[in-house]
Symmetry: C2
Subunit: 387 residues, 2 copies
């Protein structure tokens, strides 16, 4: 029986030079807090100046908050929200990768709601309170990874307790997202690969999730097809705009998957890894887990894996291991087949604790798996992923 | 180059018994004008009583306006808007087929804007004024045809001047749509077929339109696939809920196509037919035009037709006429291959005037065709469709 709820209210402007439309499009306020990474590349390459000048053309003032880490932390959410209040900003622009946009969403909540961000988190030590009205968010993506421009979700880490947990509801969809592949040409190869695999796993997890439906399926299979077809070129020749645009599209579609289906326990496991090891990029952590993870589930849900294998272009799509084999090959062609947990300081003996953290913080996602994992099976998949 | 704008802010509840959620879902007001057809079937089968009682459970009052014709007319839009104002309704529910929902959208405009509905129409004798704020619209579909639950468009006829013209903007998306296939089991076979073909043509026209993009393409091909797979069963065994649900999904997807791409000149031509002959169902008019219409364009845009033919399941999808052959076969299996313009009072000599009407009222859609038709070619396609 087909049954689903569809709600993706974000207006998305997608394509080369779409950033220019920021000068004329209707914006949700007159003074923006621009939330961006601490890396400095957006200043060096002139993107920030261009953004501020386009906003000025649209008669919008702006204030910059540029402290966001690759794995964004609660302290910066609280600091950004203070700044937004102090400066009287009436909307928030997330400008950069998923970490900047996710932080913008969290700041949009805390600029209008009392207390601490963790009061509103479900899971872990969060208090699970409902939040009220939020500031409107505009998302301008400069990487193609989290799909956050097309979903309501944000992921932030509480450093003190090593908890990395997602949050979002119908209010936290961006009101406007701009996906301009020209902003992505300077993303370095490794990061392009990590991000592209994140998009792939959003699609693949959402396809095997027990809440998948014909609409999320459509987005997921198209996203998988595009990642397999275009990611190696985007990684190996970053200036190839056709490849960048198609990977960006795959990413936006994987955001649609997040909005209509869900990611599952692979994300819970990865959040544990990068909550403890903040220098581990989320996409890299997923890549490390993915082969053991999908190999485990391929046995449990063969038809879904055959569909996904077909989308990769595999000729032997009907074989149980076709999708996983294609995944391994894609990792090779993107130069990310040699990632090791041990290179990021993760030790084999830590895995029990990491698995427990995954269940403690993001246990709800295990309920959406196509087969209900035990804690022991979780540990076993994570051990199999260790190198 | 990929370039598109995506904006479909409607929340859609899709599935069997989703109507029941009306008792609990957040609604955009406290007093609804229920807009429905003059046919009386919704009263006889108890659907209206159920709707009113679900609204009461949700603490929403309602007033019924049940005069809408299969080809809805401006006079009823104005009358419904007066009633909404007089009764202090703060939102409008379109309950029924496309005609009721389209009328609900038009009433939502006129309940908040001055003057005459035709003041806001672009094309024909319309004055093309912009309209301001509108009442929120909730769409509850009981047929699977126009896709109006998932797009901003409405089509109304001005009887005095024989003009049938579409209207819509970002404000006229329903805020909430409920697509419950159980409400569709009583739709008679012929109407099921007409509506199903309307959905098919929204998808097919949107796929060959020069404004098509990868997102609209995804919706269009899936919609075509589902119509070819499930429409004959839905027509020949109306109680088959699996078929009804899949045709309903095809229809919603074709609404997404209308929201992300556009219908093209086939719709302009059909609007002329049913503007002059209001007893002609829109879907039937499209069926009459479709073979000559798509045969003409198959030569002009072969790749797109091969994709569509593949979606129909045709083995010979690479042949230029594969899609049109599949279309003819689908008409046979749905029992609508014997429709004749002459049965509806259309005469061969009228065709020049009808073609002129199509250009006069909905000329803008000809700009979206994959090949720019001349008036002579328009006449020629319409003549070839005459029987």
């Amino acid at each position: 029986m087909i049954s689903f709820d569809y709600y993706i209210p974000t207006k998305i402007l997608f394509g080369e030079d779409k950033l220019n439309e920021l000068a004329t499009v209707s914006l949700p306020g007159k003074k923006a807090l621009i939330v961006m990474s601490n890396g400095g590349s957006m200043k060096r390459n002139g993107h920030l100046d261009r953004l501020i000048s386009l906003l000025k053309e649209n008669e919008v003032e702006s204030v910059v908050f540029d402290k966001i880490l690759p794995n964004p932390v609660k302290a910066h959410v609280m600091e950004g929200a203070s700044l937004a209040k102090q400066e009287g900003c009436d909307f928030v622009i997330g400008f950069g990768g998923g970490s900047s946009i996710d932080s913008a969403k969290a700041i949009a909540i805390m600029a209008k709601n009392p207390g601490d961000y963790w009061d509103y988190i479900y899971g872990g030590t969060g208090k699970g309170k409902p939040f009220g009205e939020v500031l409107p968010v505009v998302a301008i993506t400069t990487t193609a990874g989290t799909g956050t421009e097309a979903d309501p979700w944000m992921v932030v880490t509480k450093e003190e307790t090593m908890e990395k947990i997602g949050l979002g509801n119908a209010q936290t969809f961006p009101v406007l997202s701009i996906v301009d592949p020209k902003l992505m040409v300077s993303v370095p190869p490794k990061l392009t690969a990590y991000q592209g695999f994140d998009a792939l796993f959003h699609a693949a997890e959402g396809y095997i999730a027990n809440v998948a439906n014909p609409v999320s399926d459509m987005y997921a299979l198209k996203s998988i097809e595009l990642v397999f077809k275009y990611l190696p070129t985007a990684v190996n020749d970053g200036t190839n705009l056709e490849a960048r645009a198609h990977v960006a599209l795959a990413n936006t579609l994987s955001g649609f998957v997040e909005s209509t289906s869900s990611c599952i326990s692979e994300h819970s496991m990865e959040h544990a890894l990068s909550a403890y090891h903040s220098e581990l990029p989320h996409g890299a952590g997923l890549i490390m887990l993915s082969v053991a993870y999908f190999r485990f589930f391929a046995e449990k849900t063969r038809e879904r894996f055959a569909d996904m294998a077909k989308a990769t272009g595999a000729k032997d799509w009907n074989d149980t291991d076709a999708f996983v084999n294609a995944l391994i090959e894609l990792q090779r062609s993107c130069g990310v087949d040699d990632l090791k947990m041990s290179d990021y300081g993760i030790q084999f003996e830590d895995i029990d604790e990491l698995a427990k953290n995954a269940w403690h913080t993001m246990g709800a996602l295990f309920d959406l798996d196509p087969y209900k994992l035990s804690v022991e099976e979780t540990v076993s998949i994570m051990r199999d992923s260790f190198r």
